[in-house]
């Protein structure tokens, strides 16, 4: 709008207030993580702790015993590792296989191509709940329950990823392919040298979406894992909630630890995500 003026200050204030409303619980969480149990249970309105204590973090990570003198013995570090490892594995596999399948669906003509793709699309509408139960049975049957393979493999193949990348690849002009083929390149080289670099925004967008989704996944690890060592952070944090006596201050600290790396990761990758979504577009 060409009305320069002080109107934008109002907008700034509004945006700041909304930002405040959204950030407030996080602030409460951070200040709460430095309170002692007695103070948290007291439930006063004080944001800042009266007697701040930095003990909650070491207690959580098993470096110190808690107020009762017991070590928490929660494998927080391991859960962190599991979350990260699982997400990385799923992301890499999914992006790779989806890209390859998208290539097959978009750059190569073959009989029945569109019908098979339609099949992919159709299954995207089936709610995940429907496939959870038989997937569980299959895992039991294959003996993959309670293991890392069971965590990673089912999530490593996604019709959604294939769909997204195919849309991206369709917008890459086929003339580039032909030019490369004239130079004697086969499909594999075309894939790596021509298509993938041009599809980079889509790859990054898919990668970020998949990584975040895998990091936050809860239902499948919950039903699949029985041994604490395999738990990702999302499932592991449940045991904080239910071990004898609620320890709110530790929950706060754990949530902070859970959240901070993602914040850092996201702030760094934010630009790519938006650009990827913009370019991929939601062309219905």
């Amino acid at each position: 709008m060409n009305r320069a003026g002080m109107g934008w200050i109002g907008r700034l204030i509004l945006l700041s207030v909304i930002g405040f409303a959204i950030a407030m619980p996080f602030l409460w969480m951070v200040t709460g993580s430095f309170k002692s149990r007695a103070e948290v249970d007291e439930g006063s309105i004080r944001l800042l702790p009266e007697n701040p204590t930095a003990d909650n973090y070491p207690i959580l990570l098993n470096f110190k015993p808690d107020a009762h003198g017991n070590y928490l013995d929660l494998r927080f570090g391991r859960w962190y590792f599991n979350s990260f490892f699982m997400s990385l594995g799923i992301t890499v596999l999914q992006v790779l296989t989806s890209a390859m399948a998208a290539y097959a669906f978009s750059r190569i003509q073959w009989r029945g191509r569109d019908k098979v793709f339609l099949l992919y699309l159709a299954t995207m509408m089936i709610p995940g709940l429907v496939t959870m139960i038989p997937n569980f049975q299959i895992m039991v049957y294959l003996g993959l329950l309670n293991s890392y393979h069971g965590l990673i493999l089912p999530a490593a193949f996604s019709a959604f990823g294939t769909f997204l990348l195919r849309q991206f690849m369709l917008s890459i002009p086929p003339s580039l392919d032909e030019a490369a083929r004239i130079d004697g390149a086969g499909h594999w080289q075309i894939f790596w040298r021509v298509v993938m670099p041009l599809a980079r925004p889509g790859l990054i967008a898919l990668g970020i979406i998949t990584f975040l989704g895998a990091y936050r996944s809860f239902f499948w690890p919950l039903i699949m894992l029985f041994d604490e060592q395999y738990y990702p952070l999302s499932v592991g944090m449940l045991s904080l909630d239910s071990s004898y006596g609620r320890q709110t201050e530790l929950i706060m600290a754990a949530t902070v630890l859970n959240v901070v790396p993602l914040i850092i990761l996201f702030t760094a990758c934010q630009k790519f995500l938006v650009k990827g979504l913009q370019l991929g577009g939601v062309k219905g």
């Binding site: 249970d41 009762h68 017991n70 590792f81 599991n82 490892f85 990385l88 594995g89 890499v92 596999l93 790779l96 039991v140 329950l145 309670n146 890392y148 790596w192 993938m196 670099p197 980079r200 039903i223 029985f226 041994d227 060592q229 449940l238 045991s239 909630d241 239910s242 071990s243 004898y244 006596g245 609620r246 320890q247 709110t248």
Partner: protein, 461 residues
């Protein structure tokens, strides 16, 4: 681009290898390791250490797995070796699912048959006459009350042989004297409270003589007890309403909400077992203020509540069944029983150690008069009954739902109980229709052939 993916793949592979290698299997050579699925109570350390001394060559490790998934875990072959069942309903579910090992023979051989523990809980250990578990501790509730608070408020103390009407009177006096600030009875587990009241009124879950085929939740006793529960909460204000109760329950942990309020002197009375005193060391001086009375009785009846046990069973599919049997033998021993008595973790499985109040004196509370009512309670108590034709976990869930509906005034007490009874009856009917093995059980129990309209023959109410 290719290099990026290659690097990422290699990194993932390296992490995978690292993850697999660092999986700790806590096996030690020469020592059989038994996984015990129980809650992570600090007392377990002592209990497992003593077992290690008694049976070198075997070791028990606590596995605080999610109890909700226990069933599925065991069925898919991942179960622990020793399974804690928190009640008769839990045991029945596990037996139905084929998880618990039949212990009748080993029990006789190694001395942990039902004779080795209290007669009152014998039924709690058996399903159709076969034994499936042995108690880790036994509980029967009494009323622990804060005598100092009652004296300070000028409210009369509970007397021997007091009734539920007396409870209401005392509760009302507490509310008056404290301007409504104190909660008379901390309702920390509404299902157990209801069950205590119901059994005290002579109620059963299934109609006597019906072999578990007809629910008894629409009996006059059930309706009366639920109505009384409702009135205690909404008319006499003796029990906290859901608003008050959420604040109690949200403190989290196993029942610790109501306990915290009682220990924090915001509630005056609590229906609980002897295992409450485990909390006392956290609250200095509280122990001297407390006293115990038997459960109130209904007019014309003796005081009686329910009893049950947190008992251990053995995973029928586990690889270490023989070693696990040793653990149960340990539970029947006096060494283990003494740890339970000393810790205050309810009543020991071995009744020899709990004959009188003096037996149960320990460092936490050394007044025999405190422990005596528990000894009496376990003598008179009775467990709830179950039916082989319906999953007890399911009926418990439905009962809890109905109680919560009454608490939230979604249904009247009578509606809630009648609908509960009819829902249970319908489910029993459906189960019988669906499953051949239940039909055969029906025939062998009742001696009559199974027909789809068998329920019409039962006397309609």
């Amino acid at each position: 681009m290719r290099t990026v993916f290659l690097v990422l793949l290699l990194a993932s592979a390296a992490l995978y290898v690292g993850a697999q290698l660092t999986l700790t299997s806590r096996e030690k050579p020469g020592v059989v390791q038994l996984r015990w699925a129980t809650d992570k109570n600090p007392a377990r350390t002592r209990q497992t250490a003593a077992f290690g001394e008694m049976f070198p060559g075997a070791e028990v490790v606590v596995d605080p797995a999610d109890s909700q998934k226990l069933l599925v875990q065991c069925v898919s072959g991942w179960g622990p070796d020793i399974i804690d069942c928190y009640g008769i309903a839990h045991m029945q579910s596990l037996v139905e699912a084929g998880i618990l090992l039949d212990l009748t023979e080993p029990a006789k051989e190694h001395g942990f048959a039902p004779e080795a523990t209290y007669p009152a809980i014998e039924e709690c250990l058996l399903v159709e006459g076969r034994q499936y578990r042995f108690p880790c501790n036994v509980w029967a509730n009494c009323v622990i009350y804060n005598r100092r608070m009652l004296e300070d408020l000028g409210v009369p103390l509970p007397q021997e042989g007091w009734t539920y009407e007396d409870l209401v009177r005392i509760g009302k006096r507490i509310r008056e004297a404290s301007n409504g600030n104190l909660v008379p009875v901390a309702n920390w587990n509404n299902v157990w409270l209801f069950e205590d009241m119901y059994i005290g009124a002579g109620g059963t879950y299934y109609r006597p003589g019906s072999h578990g085929l007809v629910s008894s939740f629409d009996s006059p006793e059930a309706l009366a007890v639920m109505r009384f529960y409702h009135d205690m909460m909404h008319v006499h204000d003796v029990l906290p309403t859901p608003t008050e109760a959420t604040a109690i329950a949200s403190a989290g942990g196993w029942g610790s909400g109501g306990l915290t309020w009682f220990s924090g002197k915001k509630a005056v009375m609590i229906f609980i077992g002897r295992w409450y005193i485990v909390q006392l060391p956290n609250y200095r001086g509280l122990g001297n203020d407390l006293a115990v009375a038997r459960l109130p009785s209904w007019r014309g009846r003796a005081s009686r509540g329910q009893c049950d046990a947190r008992a251990a069973g053995i995973n029928a599919k586990g690889p270490h069944r023989d070693a696990a049997v040793k653990f149960l033998k340990y539970l029947a021993s006096k060494e283990y029983g003494r740890i339970i008595v000393a810790d205050g973790d309810s009543l020991p499985p071995n009744p020899e150690l709990a004959r009188t109040g003096e037996n149960l004196v320990n460092d936490i509370v050394n007044d025999p008069a405190f422990h005596r009512p528990f000894v009496d309670a376990i003598r008179d108590a009775r467990p709830v009954d179950t039916s082989p034709f319906i999953d007890a976990g399911l009926t418990n869930r439905w009962l809890k739902e109905r109680i919560e509906q009454v608490e939230n005034r979604k249904k009247t007490p009578e509606e809630a109980m009648r609908s509960l009874a009819s829902e249970i009856n319908l489910q029993i009917r459906a189960n019988l229709e669906d499953r051949l093995d239940l039909q055969r059980k029906y025939e062998s129990i009742t001696g009559k052939p199974y027909t789809p309209d068998w329920w019409r023959r039962e006397a309609p109410r």
